[in-house]
Symmetry: C2
Subunit: 159 residues, 2 copies
């Protein structure tokens, strides 16, 4: 299976994440927007994700909480700018552990030969914010999430 | 009067705009958040600005339309992420003439000796988007807006 590619160039306040999945993009979009599916893949395996709100429309709010094995909770929230679609989902993103630091995330899904390239561009308010995100151990969470999403998509297509 | 400083470094998908105003920051914040005041300074002098919506709260929408002397209309809209305050106002920004291209704007107001430094950081989805904004003639609009805001703040303090 192709691996996730994470790009975080020095001095550029962005993170670009790309991964191809062996599934049509409508299915991938469902996995990204249906709360019952999201909790099955979002986050590293050792955490449990609980969706508090996921109002997938222009101006809608989203919020989820990840809980670690010791019971510590990590909240994340944001707003959808524009109507989310497989072409583009644009949202704000804030980790509540570092309040006031906000990123703009753009998710695009491109299908080719039944496979889907998922690309996420995160634009930060500063390079320091971007570096803080990279140093937070984000990579582990992204890689685990993508592996879990690949497994979920395989299950959904087998079912 | 100190001039506006616009920073747009090559290859960095951001624009940073700074200007100091001879007014306390609560007054500057009012001028940025009260629709009746906003229309008196926002945009270049040759355009007329009409506020359609300005819901200054967490998750609130804003939209305004600028009309040129020929009657052409230019719409802009976005959402406030978090509760706007003089410390920080974070919002999404989209020019409807180029739909789907969104920026994240962060406005901070810092007061010192009765004067206020206004700093706006715009983070774009790509360097191409940022370059497009710079080439759109944004600078003229920013310089005019800042001049008009300076005049308005002077009037408000004299009154």
């Amino acid at each position: 299976m192709p691996k996730t590619q994470i790009t975080a160039e020095p001095g550029i306040p962005q993170i670009i994440i790309e991964r191809e999945f062996d599934a049509p993009r409508d299915l991938v979009f469902r996995a990204y927007t249906d709360p019952e599916l999201i909790v099955r893949w979002l986050g590293p395996r050792e955490l449990t994700t609980r969706i508090e709100e996921y109002d997938v429309r222009d101006g809608g709010r989203w919020r989820y909480v990840a809980t670690d094995p010791d019971g510590n909770e990590y909240g994340f929230h944001g707003l959808f700018h524009g109507t989310p679609s497989p072409d583009a989902t644009v949202q704000t993103f804030e980790f509540e552990g570092v309040p006031g630091h906000v990123a703009l995330e753009t998710l695009t899904l491109v299908e080719r030969d039944g496979r889907t390239l998922v690309r996420t561009v995160s634009s930060f308010q500063s390079v320091e914010d971007r570096d803080g995100m990279v140093e937070s151990g984000m990579e582990h969470g992204v890689l685990d999430s993508d592996e879990r999403l690949g497994e979920l998509l395989a299950t959904m297509q087998a079912g």
